[in-house]
Each structure stands twice: as structure tokens, then as C-alpha cells.
Symmetry: C2
Subunit: 176 residues, 2 copies
Amino acid sequence: MASRRTLSFDPIAEANRNWIERGWTDAAPGMSMVTSIMRAHQILLGRVHQALVPFDITFAQYEALMLLSFTKRGQLPLGKIGQRLQVHPASVTNVIDRLEGKGFVIRIPHPDDQRTTLAAITRSGRGLASKATARLNSEVFEDTGLDAERQQDLVDVIAAMRRSAGDFAEPSQSNS
Amino acid sequence: MASRRTLSFDPIAEANRNWIERGWTDAAPGMSMVTSIMRAHQILLGRVHQALVPFDITFAQYEALMLLSFTKRGQLPLGKIGQRLQVHPASVTNVIDRLEGKGFVIRIPHPDDQRTTLAAITRSGRGLASKATARLNSEVFEDTGLDAERQQDLVDVIAAMRRSAGDFAEPSQSNS
DNA sequence: CGATATTAGTTTGATGTTCAACCAATGGAA
DNA sequence: TTCCATTGGTTGAACATCAAACTAATATCG
């Protein structure tokens, strides 16, 4: 992963002090929050990728695979995948290319609209998704370093932020 | 950015339902938490990058520049930068290469240890850091879509997670 | 002292993300 | 029907990240 030496202080707390010291007090909390999210993302993505190493897929590929596996027919237009995962169409092309190369997905033409391409999960794709999920659940999701209550707090607060950013529109009803 | 269409439901809440439906109840909260962090990261990084467009630097480059600007002498060994920003040495090389190419930083040899290279922020680097910070503060950090209390909650909970992941060791004293 | 281990950076290769440009198909309007 | 805007997807260019391999310099140990 990175330079994995534990620091003897909290670099975000120090950045916060620096911000306040320079008079940017209104921005300091936001800066700390944004930086915290960035760091949390680094840490969690690292653990997820490590758990996925045996399966030779990345988290982006795993997400696409799971999304397909949750649909009724196991297939979805590439555009829909991009909307659901909130990534650029070019990213979808890339991820589906790689999944297709490994035989976990195949591209099939849309029956009605010639512009549209469907990604369909294969038998082996389902098998992989199942094994990868079991591993992710036990290695990462069941022990994130936070208790259930704090996790729920995190989910709720971020849901508020996502809603305010236009990520989705529904009430979200706390998700628990 | 991505496919910026607002969804009419919360995809994370739906993933959570899917997890529970399949009996992965112990993993569901962690999955929701991890996915929430990933999404929050996407959103915030997108806004940060947008705010930095006029300055032609990325957030990674901005972070390195600010780190240097906060040091006494305006310089730091590349390895230290990697430790502080928690990124791979190869990433540091990359980021410093680009900053150096734009004249915001110069590489100078370490006086005592020939292995070590110091990155030193230049006059124009300081000027840029200052302008970029003003813009980031006003465009992003001062309005993240969350009130101060929620932001502090986020920072505190993530600090707990980071500490448990070995990110740092000090007590962190709530950072407020 | 000399062999070995450790540390610092760089290079290379794989993957992911975005944006911009582009092509093909669709659909609405004149 | 013909023109043109929109939609869906791909491609290429930038930039970021990591892992692994490699070079160079320093440190340690027998």
C-alpha cells in the first residue's frame, strides 16, 4: 500500500490547527472533513483491494459485477451502470472491457435500441461475485474498526451530504 | 464529472437491503459504511478538482504544496511527504515531477544523505498555494453541504477509524 | 574491512478516473 | 421526409494510485 508507518500525531488535526492559525477559521471544519473523507477512502479502498487480490478483480470491477447480479435478468445497459455507480461512461467502458476479458461479463446488443449495449453477467461471473462477496464480508465489512452505531452515524451523515450534492432525491429513511 | 443524473432513490440503501435479503446481515452495516465513504470521496474530490481547474493543479499536487508551505524551511524529503500524505513513494515522485515541471517546486539534494532528495517550494509555488487555498476555502470548505456539528461528527468518527487502522497514534483530542 | 541489509527514489506496468472529441443511432420538428 | 439535437458508447490524452523491480547510498554485523 503506501508508506505504512504509523505517525505519532494526527496530520489532519495539525492541518486544522494550521488553518485556524492563518485565520481561515470558517473553512477549517470543512477542510478537516474533506481531508478525513479522503483518508478514510484511502484506508478502506486499500483493505478492500487486498481482500480482492485472490480473485484478480478490483473494487470497481466488483461493484459492476454485483450491480449486474442484483438485477432480474443479470444484465444492464452500460449507461445505466454508469448512472448507478456514478462514474463516467468512459470508466464503464473500461471496467466492462476488463470484466469481459476475464469472461465474467459479455456484451450483447440491445434488442430495440441499436445504440445501446447491454452488459450481461456470466455463470463464472456469478461464481466469482459470490466468492468475492464472502471474502469481502468477512475480511472488511464485518470488521471496519467502528462499532455499529458509529457506522450508522457515518452512513446517515454522508447520506445527508450526498442528498445535498444531488446524488439522489428520495428521503433515504436512515437506511437501517 | 460523471453521469450527473440525480437518482430517484438511494443506491446505498438499496445495496443494504440486498445484503440483508441475502442473509449477510452482519456485513451490511460495514458494506453501507464503506460504500458511503467511497461515494463521499467521489463527490468531494470532484468539487475540489473543479475548484482547482483555474490553477491547473490537482488535489494531490495541492496537498503536497501545502505540506511544504507549512514547514519551517519550505522543504521536505520526498519520503517524508509520502509518509505525511500516506501515499506510495511512486506517487510522490509523480506529483513532485509535475510540480517541478510547473516551477512550483524544485528538487535539491540532501546535504548529509546522498540518497535523499528534498522538495522545496518556490516563490511562485507559494503564490499559487495561497490563491488556490483561497478558492478552495470559499468554493468547497466553507460550504460542504453539512452543518458544523455534522462535519465534526464525521471528523471524529473517521479519526477513530483511522486510529484503529494504525494511521496515527496520538489521542487526537477531537480536533476542534 | 567486507558482505549483507536497509533505506530512498525512480522506473515500468496495470488499473481507474475524468474530459474532449468522435461516431452511430434515435427522435422530434420544420 | 429531411435536418438537427440528443443519446449511447468508444477512443485517446492526462493524471493518480499501487506493486514490483531496480539503482544508489548508507548502515550494520561478523
